[in-house]
Subunit: 107 residues, 2 copies
């Protein structure tokens, strides 16, 4: 799985805002999403294309309308394969620190 496109997709605050909008209300249309961003419709389209590429957003056509749905699975992947690793390291460090302190306490 290519984490890079997901990280790149998340790097832009407008795209994170789009994900947030879909989090608040899923299945929004392009026009609806545009109302919340201060840029042209085409710019929003490009951002959504990046999110689709990263598999963070899925699209369903209803007539002439394009409905956008949030897919949080890649976020889960990033956590499991990336953030979680460092997190476990941190917890281990905290545990080590705690143990050290207790040892110091005893001496």
């Amino acid at each position: 799985m290519d984490m890079d496109i997901v990280f790149k997709a998340l790097a832009d605050s407008s795209r994170r805002q789009l994900l947030d909008l879909l989090y608040q209300e899923n299945g929004r249309t392009l026009g609806e999403l545009c109302e919340h961003l201060d840029m042209s419709r085409q710019a929003v389209t490009k951002h959504l294309a990046v999110l689709e590429e990263a598999n963070l957003v899925a699209v369903v056509w209803r007539g002439r309308e394009k409905l956008h749905y949030l897919n949080p699975v890649p976020l889960q992947d990033i956590y499991e394969r990336w953030i979680g690793k460092f997190e476990r390291q941190r917890l281990h460090a905290l545990h080590t620190l705690k143990t050290r302190l207790e040892e110091d306490d005893e001496s």
Copy 2:
């Protein structure tokens, strides 16, 4: 807290590789880190500056050597304030789905 610089810092694969290197062995010097990347020392310096800016890496000088230490706290922040939110949504969706299926099962 400014999540944006952290996301931006994570968006580059070379920088993620640097974090990985520090994860494997903390407190590495600039020269040591350079040995693992296929680019000039100055390029690595710039990447490390971005990571410092995002507070993902802390630096300690020892004589003429610059030691780099990993700080996973911003990663934890990103998870808690960002990924976790969507994750809870997903779990909730799964739970709803499960309940629906069980209801269908009963009918």
